[in-house]
Structure formats: C-alpha cells, structure tokens
C-alpha cells in the first residue's frame, strides 16, 4: 500500500489541487442531480448500454454444469464420507441393512458427550471452563434441541479444521509471495467475504447437489477468509530479529516456518480461528436451506409458524455452541506443548482413553436406558411461552408509542434520504468516488474504483445499488454512532467490558432471523425493521475495535501525557483518540461490510434493493442474475473498504505510525 500512498499528492500545492478535484467532482454531481435533463445519459444509465453480464455468467455456469459435473460430484462424494460419519456418530446413529432386517447402532449418548465436553474443559481450562462446557451442552439437552444441535455441531466439526488448514496454507503462500497476496489472494478474499451466499446458492446446488456437502462448502467458502488474513498478518508481523535468529540458529526453511514463524504468530492465528468458528456458525440458517438441516432449520420452521420462543431457543443454542467452541479452542491453543513423552500410547493418552471409554459406556447404557439416548419429554423444559408472552405484552402495551416513533423516523429521515439516493446520477457518483480514490490512494486506486463503479452502472442495477447504499450507509452511520461510544465506555471500565462482551458475542452469533420477526411485530415490515436488524448485527465491530484500539494505546504515551499535565479529557482527546483512530476506522470498515452482509436478511422483511434482486434470482434459479447482483453488492463493499483503508494508511503516515 505504501507505494500507492507515495504517489498521492502530498505537497501543499498538491493538497489544494486534491481538494479542488474532489470539490469539482461534487459540483458536477450536484448539477447532474439537480438538473438531470441536461445530460440525461450521465444521470440515468441508458438502458441501451446495459451489458448483459447476466446471460454471460449464466452461459458459463451452464457450460460448467454440463462439462464438470462429474468432477464436482466426485468431490462432493469425497467430502460426504467424513461428514456422514460425523452426522451418524453424533445425531443419527449408524443404520445397517434395510427393511425389517435393519438395525441401528445408536448415536453417542448425550450424557457421554456432555461429560466429555466438561472433561475437555477441565483439562484445558480448569473448573470454570469445565462448568461452561458441561452446562452449556447440558442445556442443549434440557431445552430439547439436542438432535439438531448435534447436526449443526457435526457440520462445524468437519468444516472448521478444513477451513483452518486451507486458510493456513493460503496464508503461508501469501506471506512468502507478497505479489500473489496482493493481486490474487486479497481480491479473492474480498469477494468471498462480501458476496452474499444466496448469490451463489444456485450454482452450488447445480454443481454439488442439495446435500450437506453443499452446505459445508458454502460455509467453508464464507468462513475461511479471516483465517487467511490472520495468517498473512501474523506472519508479516513477526519481528525481523526473530527471523534473523532462526536463520542464525541454522533452521531449514520448513523448520523456520513451523518451529519459529507460526508459533510467533500464534496470537493472530488464534483470532483467525475464533473468527472461523463464529462465521461458520453464522451460516447455519443458509446451510439448512440447502440440505444440512440442524438448528438453522429449526429456526426457519419455528418462525414460519410464528413460534417465536422456539426460534429464540434454537438461536440461543447456536450461541451456546459458538461460545463453548470458541472458549475451548482458545484454551487448547493457549496450552503450552508438553515435553515429548515416551510412554506407551494409552499411557500417554489416558485422557483420550478415558473419553472414549466414557462415550462407549454411556452409549452402551443408552441401549438399556433409552433416556440416555433421548431425554424423555417430561424432563425437558422450554422457555418458549415466556418469550412469546413478552413480545405479546410489548405489542399490546407499547405498539402505539413505537408506531409514532417509527412513522416519524420514516417520514422525516428515511424516505427523503432514500429518494435522494435513488436519484443520484451514476456518472456523478463515479466522478466523486474516483476523485476520492485518487486523492487518498493515487492513480491505481482511482482506476480500480472507477472500473468497479462503472460495472455497477453497466449491469443496469444502478437504482437498486443506490438503495442498497442508502440502507447500508444509514445503518453503518447509526451503528458507528452507537457502537463507538459504547466501545469507549468499555475501554474505560473492565466491569462494563465484562457485561458488554457476552452481549456482542450473542449479537454476532445469533441468527438475525430469530429476532427479526419479533421486531416486525413491533415495527411492521419495511426499512425501519431492516435498519434495526442491520444495526444490531453491524454494531459489533464498532464496539470491539474501539475498545481494543483505546486499550492498546502504549502506556508510555499515556504517562507522557499525564506528566505534561493533561486533564483526563485532554488525555482522551489529544492522546488516546488520535492514537486509536486507525483501529476505530477499521472497526467502521468492518461495520460497513457487515451492514452489506445483512442486505439479504433485510430483503426478507420487505426492503427493495439488491437483496431482493438476489432473491428473485434464487426463486427463478437464475444463476447469472444472482451472481451479478451479488457482485454489485461485493463491489460496493470493496469500494468502501479500499477508500477507508487508504484513508487509514494516510492517517497513520501523517502520525508517523506506518
């Protein structure tokens, strides 16, 4: 990035020139916006010039389907073997034979799984973690969601290691060849993360079939990028001294990588693992739509019947699995490797032996005591009626007040803003964005942004794209306005932080679908509901990064400030905030990307933008249309990301932190 930044105008003259160019672009846009008739082809993209990307992509997909189905199906068959095994082991049981001669080897008993989880927690994290893991999984049994929880868990257990290994491999490649990283890996990751899964669901179904395998691949596709990023970042951050030391100690290349670089990059890698687990669990709703079943399916089914409580319980089960897996994986990774042990296998692995014994024993017992296979209904309980009663109570008592607020916001802010965005002239927006790109990142960035913006217009999807921009923009603004202060508050008090962290963890992992339907009951379908759902999801990084950014301000700087007599406010305003600014901006960047990711969910409560376009394509099984709409969403995200990254870079350089 630094070479781009150098070519940006930086002298005083250049700075005035830069301001001038951006101002001119804005002026041109304003003219096109106010009097669109003078140069109407530049205000509204002419229909005659729409390039039929839809049909091209569709044709490519059809060709792939006819010529490569054998390959994709073979791959699907390969992946299916371990997946089926995990499904059978944890949830379905192994079925042998057919018809009346069929008999089933039961799945692992819930008691065994709960005990082993607690035991794992104890080994790696002591009593606290043991309680968390054990009670967490026990609650899945008690709330009677065990079966589908295990389906989801099986998918995650097979998927996550796969994502981690692939992510590591690509990350290492990216570290050793920066050019590949910059021109191939990074753009690919951007696309994978910003393109909504629904957009490539149809090609996925055609190539890999409606089976858990498709679900697994879609999950992997979405969840691997953070692992790659974390690996590249972690390896690049390893201090030069450590690398030199490895060379001096006479390490071979592979020794250097495995024994020195990767262990040194461990903190970054752990963040990657955490994100893989979280994102994989984010996908459960979608994977349930293409054949995986599990908790996501429970959520969908319950909501179709307006069983809000059941949906909420299934959603919370996803959160429980996420929290347990996350804390456990962190604890496992923190554990120091012990010295090599030369005892016999079983002696070395008493824990493994014990765990297997517990599983076998409880499972065998479940043949005799069916309660160990499936807990009888009389022992399970549900909180569902309370959720429903709570929502009903709010509906009956507070609807009118909420309605007044909703109408006020809608009529005074959202509707006019939306109309404004819809009328934005495409050429003007292209000019402004390109000018900004040039100003912040030089010619290279300007060119990339101009091409991406032009693509959005040339697909003929300009108006939906602007509607998307409007909703995401407002959502990101609100999320930042709420999230940054909360993050600041967290950074100043450990107690607040301890309360807020589990809440944002929940917001990130609970499927938005669970709470979006109750929100509809209070706020009706439409933009306000969509906004609430989007903000609830995208506020998470704003809080997290702000908190993290302020907390990592070097202690010396703070002391220097105190010594020179800063008041608390000055310390915050002049030292902490400026130093943490790049981190906060990254949080805003993530907030924007997450808002974009919610566009699809918003389409489910009646917004009309690119999300709806993707849905229409899905219902018509039109692969080309879905992918093109998905690309436009992705490009909006990439443009925002590039501009903010360039801005952060400039800010860092100005503060001498690059």
């Amino acid at each position: 990035m630094s070479d781009i930044a150098h070519s940006a105008p930086s002298t005083l003259n250049g700075r005035w020139l830069g301001h001038g160019v951006v101002a001119a672009a804005i002026a041109a846009t304003a003219i096109l916006f106010l009097v669109p008739d003078i140069l109407s082809p530049f205000a509204k993209y002419p229909d005659a010039l729409v390039i039929p990307f839809n049909e091209w992509v569709g044709a490519v997909m059809a060709w792939l389907k006819t010529n490569f189905s054998w390959l994709t199906r073979w791959l699907a068959g390969l992946v299916e073997v371990p997946l089926r095994f995990a499904f059978n082991l944890l949830a379905k049981g192994f079925k042998f034979g057919t018809g009346e001669a069929a008999w089933t080897l039961p799945r692992l008993s819930w008691l065994g799984v709960v005990l082993v989880m607690a035991w794992l927690g104890y080994i790696f994290g002591g009593l606290r973690l043991a309680l968390l893991c054990g009670l967490g999984f026990l609650s899945l049994v008690l709330f009677d969601v065990w079966n589908n929880s295990m389906l989801t868990l099986a998918l995650i257990i097979i998927c996550v290691p796969f994502c981690i290994v692939t992510g590591l491999a690509f990350g290492i490649w990216g570290h050793f060849s920066p050019r590949v990283n910059r021109w191939l890996i990074t753009p690919a990751l951007d696309l994978m993360q910003t393109m909504p899964t629904f957009a490539y669901l149809i090609p996925m179904l055609l190539l890999f079939g409606a089976s858990p395998v498709s679900a697994l691949l879609a999950t992997g596709f979405f969840a691997t990028p953070p692992m790659v990023r974390a690996t590249v970042l972690g390896l690049n951050k390893v201090p030069q001294e450590i690398k030199d030391f490895a060379d001096m100690a006479g390490c071979t290349k592979s020794q250097k990588l495995w024994r020195v670089l990767l262990p040194a990059a461990k903190p970054s890698l752990l963040i990657g693992v955490n994100q893989v687990i979280m994102l994989a669990l984010n996908m459960v709703i979608i994977s349930s739509m293409i054949g995986a079943g599990g908790l996501g399916y429970d959520v969908l089914l319950a909501l179709r019947a307006l069983k809000i409580g059941q949906a909420m319980e299934a959603g919370l089960a996803i959160v429980i699995i996420a929290v347990v897996l996350d804390r456990l994986s962190q604890a496992i990774a923190q554990k120091r490797p012990e010295a090599a042990d030369t005892r016999a296998f079983w002696a070395r692995h008493t824990n493994v032996a014990l765990a297997i014994a517990v599983l076998l024993l409880t499972t065998a017992l479940s043949l005799v005591f069916p309660a160990l296979h499936t807990l009888p209904d009389s022992l399970t309980f549900t909180t569902a009626p309370y959720w429903k009663a709570g929502v009903d109570w709010i509906t009956i008592n507070y609807f009118d007040a909420i309605e007044a607020g909703r109408v006020f916001v809608l009529l005074n802010f959202l509707n006019p803003l939306r109309a404004g965005f819809e009328a934005l002239p495409w050429f003007g927006v292209l000019l402004v964005l390109t000018a900004l790109g040039w100003r912040l990142g030089g010619w290279g960035l300007a060119l990339v942004i101009a091409l991406l913006t032009a693509f959005c217009a040339a697909t003929g999807l300009w108006v939906p794209a602007m509607q998307t921009l409007y909703l995401c923009g407002v959502a990101a603004l609100v999320a930042s306005a709420l999230g940054i202060p909360i993050g600041l508050w967290c950074s100043r008090s450990d107690r607040v932080s301890a309360i807020v962290t589990p809440i944002i963890d929940t917001l990130q992992t609970i499927p938005s679908f669970c709470f979006i339907i109750p929100v509809v009951m209070l706020f009706r379908v439409g933009d306000v509901t969509a906004l609430i759902a989007t903000v609830a999801f995208s506020i998470v990084p704003a809080v997290r990064y702000t908190n993290h950014g302020i907390r990592q301000v070097p202690h010396e700087l703070l002391e220097a400030g105190i010594v020179s007599g800063c008041t608390r406010w000055q310390l915050f305003r002049r030292v902490q905030l400026p130093v943490a600014m790049p981190e906060i901006m990254l949080g805003i960047n993530q907030t924007i990307l997450l808002s974009l990711a919610m566009i699809i969910i918003c389409a489910m409560v009646g917004t009309r933008d690119l999300g709806q376009e993707v849905f229409k394509a899905l219902s018509k099984a039109d692969a080309g249309r879905g992918i093109v709409a998905g690309l436009v969403i992705a490009f909006i995200g990439i443009i925002a990301d590039r501009l903010i990254t360039a801005w952060v870079q400039r800010m860092r350089q100005r503060r001498g932190m690059a």
Binding site: L206, M289, G606, K620
Partner: protein
C-alpha cells in the same frame, strides 16, 4: 507365523460378523436400496406429507432420507438431477411458472395432485367488518372511508395491504391499479414476516389487510374472511379486455388451484413401486388441516402425527402399492 495367523482369523471373524449386516437382506425385496430423498421445506403441511409418504415407503422396505431444501429453486435444480427424488407440495398459486419451467427441462415429472385445493386472497379479521360493512365484496374497498380504515400514518389516505414476497407470483400492484383500489401494496419479504404483522395487529384488534392462504394454520387460528374479488380466469391475467377494466389485465382475484407432487424423472425406472405409491398418494383437506392444527396449535411432533396416520390408514396405502 502365529501372529500372522491370529491376524487373519481375526479378519475372517470380523467379516463373518459384518457380512450379514451389510448384505441386503431378502426380507425387503425393493428394487434399489439407494435412499429415496423426500424434500422438507419450511412449513408444516409439506413436512407432514413428506413424513407420511416417507413412512409408508419405509414400511415397504425402502430407505428414505429427508433433506431440507428451498421451495421454488428446488424445482429447477435438485429435482432435475435426482438430488431430491420427491417434492410433495408445489402450489399452483405461487409456483405456477416455476413448475412449467421444471417440466420444460424434461428431467422432472408431475406426479398428480395432492388433494387439497390451494386458496389465497386478500384477507381481513372479522372485527374489520364493522368499519367497512360492505365486505367481503371487493367493491366496498373502493369506498375512501373503508380504505382509510385500513390506513397507517405513512399510507393515509390509502389503505395498507401487506402482500407476499415479491418472488411469489402475486400481481397485487397490478390488481390494485386495474381495479382502481385506493390501497398501497407493501411487500413482506417472507411469509413469516407477513404473518408476524397479522399476529401483531390481531392481538391489538388493529386494522390489517393481508395475504392469507390455505391450507395454513392462520385461517384456523384467526377469525376472518377473504375478500371476494371477481373470480379468476386465465384470460383475466392475459387479456386486458376481460373484466371490469377494459384496458388492463389482472382485474380479478388471485388464482386458486391444485397442489402438485413432483418427482425426479428417473424415479419411475429406479423404484417402480415407490413411484406408484407416490403417484397415488393423496390426502383429504380436512384431515390435513386437522393434523396441521395438532402440530402447530397443540404442539405434537410431526413424526408422531405422521405415524398415527400411517397406522390408521394401513389398508389404504397397502392398496396404493399393489
């Protein structure tokens, strides 16, 4: 040597134990042990039908799996290549075009009707009749006072009608225009959102006009009526001259029609008997509504209700397999 021998005998023993388990047993002489995949969607009645038919086929010795799928796109993706063998509820009212597209591929087959008739239309709770006494006749909605009774702050003076997702073949925007109704059409993105609006309004006895369809639990749970529009004919949708508005099509109610079963075209040859059963499978409307009620309102599990039906109707399904 002795080590080798023990190893070998152990292997033989293992094979001897495993063989009868793995080999297909003669008791179930079905054409193929490959699983028949009956898709589950995200509403109750279709899943109930899938479990009933699946249960019957299991009783006949077939292996049955129940993958989850997406309603409209399954017709032109998974059903065409056999990833899904059977889908039991495709409604004329929402999937008409998708079914035609599916048949056009030549890789799927329409397996006849399920039995119950699909009905969908604009629907209002009974308490709204006081404010708009001319209902259920649609002409009452043309009265501005009546429309205003259905209005919210942002649609005033027009009434607010919550229609289905844009992906459903609803044509409500066209209908409002063709019939000159003073209503604004709001599209709910999913039907869960649509019924959430209904539930919220019904609890508050607040005005609501919404798209309701049957068979569904909603008409059983809430008291209300369908608006009576001029009856649908295919010409109404295609020929502007038809109906009260000579310049526009869609000047009539929504289509009603059948619910269809679809199968993968290869099923006929691979599992002939199962194919015959799937084709013959039908269910009575009242029976289906009663069973859906047991599940959605009384809290029984789908599997339980399906098993009860199979046990009670053994003679019926045994005849289908003949």
């Amino acid at each position: 040597m002795s080590f080798k021998r023990t190893w070998k005998s152990a292997l033989f023993a293992a094979v001897a134990v495993a063989a009868p388990l793995l080999a297909p047993s003669p008791a179930s002489a079905v054409e193929s042990n490959d699983p028949i995949k009956i898709v589950l969607f995200d509403w109750t009645s279709v899943n109930l039908n899938s479990r009933i038919l699946g249960g019957i086929l299991e009783n006949l010795g077939y292996t049955v799996e129940y993958p989850t799928g997406d309603y409209l796109s399954s017709l032109t993706t998974s059903l065409t290549n056999g990833d899904i063998t059977l889908g039991l509820e495709y409604w004329d009212t929402t999937a008409g075009e998708a079914m035609k597209a599916s048949e056009a591929t030549g890789q799927t087959e329409r397996l006849g009707t399920l039995g119950p008739k699909a009905k969908e239309e604009w629907w209002y709770p009974l308490y709204m009749k006081e404010k708009c006494p001319g209902l259920p006749n649609w002409e009452a909605l043309k009265d501005p006072k009546c429309a205003e009774a259905f209005a919210t702050a942002e649609t005033t003076p027009k009434g607010r009608y919550v229609g289905g997702p844009v992906t459903w073949e609803g044509f409500d925007d066209e209908r409002v225009e063709a019939l000159g109704l003073p209503f604004t059409v709001i599209h709910a993105g999913t039907d869960a959102a649509m019924f959430a609006e209904l539930d919220s309004a019904y609890q508050r006895k607040a005005p609501v006009m919404v798209w309701v369809y049957s068979p569904h639990w909603a008409p059983a749970k809430y008291e209300g009526e369908w608006v009576e529009f001029p009856e649908y004919t295919p010409e109404c949708y295609t020929d502007p001259k038809w109906g009260s508005n000579p310049d526009k099509a869609y000047d009539c109610g929504k289509p009603f029609g059948d619910i269809w079963k679809f199968g993968w075209a290869g099923m006929k040859d691979k599992w002939p008997v199962a194919y015959k059963v799937a084709k013959a499978y039908q269910i009575d409307t009242n029976e289906l509504n009663a069973m859906s009620g047991q599940i959605d309102l009384d809290g029984k599990s789908i599997e339980e209700v399906a098993a009860a039906w199979i046990a009670a109707n053994e003679a019926k399904w045994k005849a289908w397999a003949q």
